[in-house]
Amino acid sequence: MKGVARNPNLVESEAVMTAKSQTKSKSAKASKTGAELRDFYERMSLVRAFELRASEMYARAKIGGYCHLNLGEEATVVGLTAALEDRDYLYTTYRDHGYAIMRGIEPSAVMAELFGKSTGAVGGWGGSMHMFDMSKRMLGGYGIVGGQIPPATGAALAISYRSEAGPKSEAVMCLLGDATTNIGAFHESLNLAGLWNLPIVYVIVNNRLGMGTTVEGASAEPDLYKRGSSYRIDGNRVDGDDPIAVRDAAQSALKKAREERRPVLLELMSYRLKGHSVVDPARYRSKEDTDEAKRNDPVPAFREKLIADGVLTEKDAVMIDDNADRIVTEAVEFANDSPDPAVSELFDKVYASPVANASTRLPAEPAVMLS
């Protein structure tokens, strides 16, 4: 595990929650069954396999547009989604494939969406950045940096509009990247959530780089979890490479959101293994930097830990990885074999309710019947 997350050299203000220590002791105290740890590894392995294959399919031009991967962030993906109840709502960034799968969208539907097919998660309308499934309460990947934060806050407003606080309450989890803490939408949303006591957990996945810009180069307060203190929102920094620590911290934050109707800000210290997107060679990163990223890679680290702890054998781990690979291979076959969306349906989704005079004109057609 890497230095940043472990570094105890944090100056935490009075307003900042120090649930980190609570989280750690809870994490150590609670005995994890082998089955649960194994399940966590299976999930991390699946996200890893999916993203590696997505990268390959992008290189083979099966996937268009932008393609941002969760490589290196598998522990945050698995830990966060494990903390959510089915009734909770999740809003994510454009780095959303792993979250979509962990929230219950079939890997085949996610891959088919990347391929732009009619069987994709959103029927080929959104692509990599816009995975969505209302029934799974996966309320979207969002391509505009920070764009998801006000709507996520509004979803929490709708929960508080309709229901009382309590352990059975719904809650919202809203992901954002480290660089997003500099945009106005972040600050306006946290202010509203603090002011209106909304049941929402904002999660900063701090992978230390906003495209090529470091956190220190972008944020006057690089301890990002402290940025909630202006809005009296408790903040907490967590090791994003430890899926159990992530899950426990998220559960504790969600409990506060449900039962006290107080927003929480979590900062998960993570690291991108690769470039910002598939096409980014990340030349702005030093060799030391990428070596460190590889050393801290959470997937092999977690696998080795489970083997060392006797939870998995080497053979188990290989079987799990092979199974993940098989699922992803099937997803690719499904995506490949699926039909494109029909051009005859081009105008079907512009409006939710039919409306007079809505345009159904193709490029070479006139706006009205020619006289």
Partner: protein, 337 residues
């Protein structure tokens, strides 16, 4: 009329909006109002007067000055099935929320594969002429009218304010609801009982045979005034109220011009790339063979609107401007009554 069939009343545009908001709040628990100063302050233009007293702060939510935040929050609430009616103090401030309106509200239904609806209304007044200077005097409705996924309504009378706001609140898509500072005190007859307009339809509000004036929102007041002036001179002017800027009812416009052979568009906005440009292009496609003269546009001068009253007046289009262009269009075709 019997007691059970209440007669229409003459009320202001403001009152029509206020009564409609009240009626929809009463009808549907999922409807709530959200915006700056709409509760305790009673609304910057008093459209929401008295509503917080009767519906409480849960249904009439005062917000901080945070347009991107509260417009976006309304989008999220709408995604979960509530029906927010957002008030933005003026059109000018909607630009602060434009990412949420254009990149999010307008896109979500399509981009998420038709799985989510965003049933919300964003109301704001536009328009200049109040000596508020350039940043507070704009008509940028065409920016929103450009965007598929949005519906853009612009009522020009108290009766339309009622029927169109009712339709907007009950619609399952994001609706931009354009009001105008100069219309709030305008009085008109409003039918009693529930009135729900059909979105996407223009209306021929005055029939005529010699020339068509196309306008919307406040421009309609001027359009009708000038039409009456020409009527008295024996010229039969037809007036088309666009009512819906998106979708645009192109067929109603073209049908009118096919009948009259002459068209003038009157708009408060600047000319370049404006509503008038769209209408002119529509007519050239749909009624070219019927035209006796070029389509003319009466629109604002292309300057940031000044504070000085004489300068502001010079920059904005008025009845005399429309009257002159109607006359020029008639003369260009040797029109005689």
């Amino acid at each position: 009329m019997t007691d059970s069939t209440p007669e229409p009343r003459v009320i202001t545009y403001r009152q029509a909006l206020n009564e409609t908001l009240r009626a929809e709040l009463e009808r549907d628990e999922d409807v709530f109002l959200i915006g700056e100063e709409i509760g305790i302050f009673q609304g910057s233009y008093k459209i929401t007067a008295g509503l917080i007293e009767d519906f409480g702060p849960k249904r009439v939510i005062d917000t901080p000055i945070s347009e991107e935040g509260f417009v976006g929050a309304a989008i999220g609430a709408a995604m979960l099935g509530l029906r927010p009616v957002v008030e933005i103090m003026t059109l000018n401030f909607s630009l602060i929320a434009i990412d949420q309106i254009v990149n999010h509200a307008a896109k979500m239904h399509a981009m998420f594969g038709g799985q989510v609806k965003v049933p919300m209304v964003i109301r704001f007044p536009g328009g200049g002429g109040q000596q508020l200077a350039a940043s507070h005097s704009q008509n940028l409705e065409v920016w929103y009218a450009h965007i598929p996924g949005l519906k853009v309504l612009a009522p020009s009378t108290p009766a339309e304010a009622k029927s169109m706001l009712t339709a907007a609140i009950r619609d399952d898509d994001p609706v931009i609801f354009l009001e105008n500072l100069a219309l709030y005190n305008m009085k008109g007859e409003v039918p009693a009982g529930e009135q729900v307009a059909e979105i996407g339809k223009a209306a021929v509000v005055k029939a005529g045979t010699d020339l068509t004036i196309v306008s919307y929102s406040r421009g309609m007041v001027t359009a009708l005034e000038v039409a009456d002036e020409f009527e008295q001179q024996g010229v039969s002017v037809e007036v088309v109220d666009l009512r819906s800027l998106r979708p645009l009812d192109r067929e109603t416009i073209c049908a009118s011009v096919r009948k009259t052979s002459r068209a003038v568009v009157f708009e408060d906005d600047m000319l370049s790339y404006g509503i008038g440009a769209e209408i002119s292009a529509t007519i050239s496609e749909g009624a070219f063979d019927y035209l006796d003269a070029p389509v003319r546009r009466v629109a604002a001068a292309e300057v940031p609107l000044p504070y000085s009253k004489p300068l502001e007046t010079a920059a904005m289009p008025h009845a005399a401007d429309l009257s002159r262009v109607v006359r020029e269009t008639l003369d260009a075709t040797q029109f005689t009554k």
